[in-house]
Amino acid sequence: MANNAITLVEAVTQALAYELNADPDTVVLGEDVGVNGGVFRATAGLQQRFGKDRVMDTPLAESMIAGASIGMAAQGLKPIAEIQFMGFIFPAVDQMITHAARMRNRTRGRLTCPMVMRAPFGGGIHAPEHHSESTEALLAHIPGLRVVIPSSPTLAYGLLLAAIRDPDPVIFLEPKRIYRLVKQEVPDNGEALPLDVCFQLREGTDITLVTWGASTHETLKVANTLAKQGVSAEVIDVATIKPLDMNTILQSVEKTGRCVIVHEACRSFGVGAEIAAQIAEKALTSLMAPVKRVTGYDTVMPYFKLEKHYLPSEAQILAGVQEVLEYA
């Protein structure tokens, strides 16, 4: 590990700083993003460096954060709004669904909405109620939005730059459980990574593991374990949840014939359902076993004493893989 390696949350800060510097139209706004640098320090130092006009603390109102961002975006600014936790995104979804996602379509391209809404999401940090939500599926269903989730410092940097530069609204969900889990060297070269495509994190031939966000870490560990057992698992990080790059996933499943999808959100009507449905629609004859979903339970995330039993564990992923491998 190089000396100047950074964490995922630092990569977010680095991308924000890069683009605030490079593009005078960008502004950062949200609750406590200014002098405090965000409750997770994602915007640390930015107000000091770029001033109060570029990095704005807002009053405490999420619909306002979304709605005002839409107004700014229509004027050609590129607002990068932070919602403090994904559990508090719901008051903002009305504006995102009814306006951000539709402004271009509604005006036949006259007004657009080049905004990003960032929010830390997911469980596993022993946080209070409402601080551990994973409701990416809700947003993924909304036409006109993009939903992007990075799983590493490198992806966080490159995808956030891409999200900011994208001419349409992007929801950028940051898996806070891995905000500081691993470090990578991430050159601050302003190079974006592509949106709308999956990333292959590991090549394999026997089974395809599809996941995103924090779960990539357990999934990669399982792939390592499997390798020791002589099973070659391909690991795909979906990264852009919407629109969904099924080609990469289908190609992999056509090769391996078996697939396990891992996500933290509750199972029913989750993102995994769409992936599984499309695999069954488009690669049915390649499938040597039913696609298995290893996910959170169809219940509210329990308070933190029990949260580790809610989150898909390595053991559960491994069991899912075994089941799929053993399917006759």
Partner: protein
């Protein structure tokens, strides 16, 4: 018991023309210019003519549900006249009078309510104004965002946003005025207080005696105006807009008026409000009021009125023709504007629309909807 008074506020009401068109006090400077008054009168007349035609188009099955602005023309026309071109308007759905002054064509309005998105591509397509916002009060936040952009860029521009009295019960309205106050934004909020929100009278909407006082919660000025007096409206708007332009911050203007029509063409107001109340307000018509004043001043007469009506009818008919001759959008229009580029992964959906389009064209069914 001693309580220390720590803050005090008052709300005042402005009017220049009474219901008969008589002045109640000296007119402001701008109103001494006959051209201005005639412009306002003509624009109100055109607004009403276009509006009546829209209702008629709906009744005759040639348009969708439509919300008339009958009786509210003074507010809407005054907004349009008080704004500068470079300002930005975020309208609610009864601001035909403003929109027509800001480059929106009558046929755009017809197209919008006729079920065609191109109605919001406004005139020559260069407008920065917002399209009509259907989700009540949500546009108030957009205006604060627009005003923030102006402020950050140090542009002397103002955002103006309008809504109804019912809209002031929505959280978005309040979050918007609070932000406008906190950030001292160049934005003016205009509330069309027409006393009803569909079937809910103002008295059931809020316990506040005035809508203007809602601004107190956000720490800035609220003013009540006779919204059927275009002179009072224009005066108040111009002051508020110029104050905002100079960095003086936001104003909330409560324009007292009355919804002279059903809520929309899909509504039947006789189910919930007494005829007498409507009749009572018919006497307060903003057009009649200005007409009488102009007449008294010798600035207007029957002949001019007839000529104006004919001119309006002609403009409106041209718009009807343009509207009815608008070719349908291709089916792919439903995906082509969603994102800047339609996602490659959804190419099959666009192909399906293309195919259906082709089939329609072969059957000769593609042109009109």
């Amino acid at each position: 018991m001693q309580r220390e008074q720590v803050a005090s506020f008052s709300i005042s009401h402005l009017r220049f023309l009474d219901e008969h068109g008589n002045t109640t006090q000296d007119l402001p400077e701008f109103a001494k210019d006959p051209d201005t008054l005639l412009y306002l009168y003509r624009t109100m007349s055109l607004t009403r003519a276009a509006d009546a035609k829209a209702v008629n188009l709906q009744r005759t099955g040639r348009m969708g549900t439509y919300p008339s602005s009958l009786g509210q023309e003074a507010i809407s026309v005054a907004i349009g006249h008080a704004m500068r071109k470079e300002d930005v308007f975020c309208p609610y759905y009864r601001e035909q009078g403003t929109m027509l002054q800001r480059g929106v064509k009558i046929e755009d309005i017809f197209n919008y309510w006729g079920g065609d998105e191109r109605g919001s591509n406004f005139g020559d397509g260069t407008s920065e104004d917002f399209p009509i916002s259907v989700p009540i009060a949500s546009q108030c936040l957009h205006a604060t965002g627009v005003a923030t952009a102006f402020k950050l860029r140090k542009q002397p521009r103002v955002a103006v946003v309008s809504c109804g009295d019912g809209a002031t019960s929505e959280g978005d309205f309040y979050e918007a005025i609070n932000l406008a106050g906190a950030w001292n934004l160049p934005v003016v909020f205009v509330v069309n207080n027409n006393k009803w929100a569909i079937s809910v009278p103002l008295s059931e909407q809020t316990a506040a005696q005035t809508i203007a006082q809602k601004a107190i919660a956000a720490g800035f000025d609220g003013e009540q105006v006779d919204g059927n007096d275009v002179i009072a409206m224009h005066h108040t708007l111009e002051q508020a807009i110029e104050n905002a332009r100079q960095g003086g911050g936001p104003t909330l203007i409560e324009a007292l008026t009355y919804r002279m029509c059903d809520h929309t063409t899909a509504d039947d107001a006789s189910r919930y409000r007494p005829r007498e109340e409507v009749d009572e307000h018919r006497k307060k018509c903003p057009l009649v009021r200005l007409y009488n004043y102009l007449l008294n001043q010798g600035l207007w007469d029957k002949e001019k009125e007839n000529a104006l009506q004919a001119e309006c009818a002609e403009k409106v008919q041209a718009a009807v023709d343009a509207y009815l001759n608008t070719e349908n959008q291709p089916l792919t229009s439903m995906v082509d504007y969603l994102y800047e580029t339609w996602p490659a992964s959804l190419a099959d959906q666009r192909d399906a629309l293309l195919q259906e389009q082709q089939a329609l064209e072969e059957k000769g069914e593609a042109v009109h909807g």
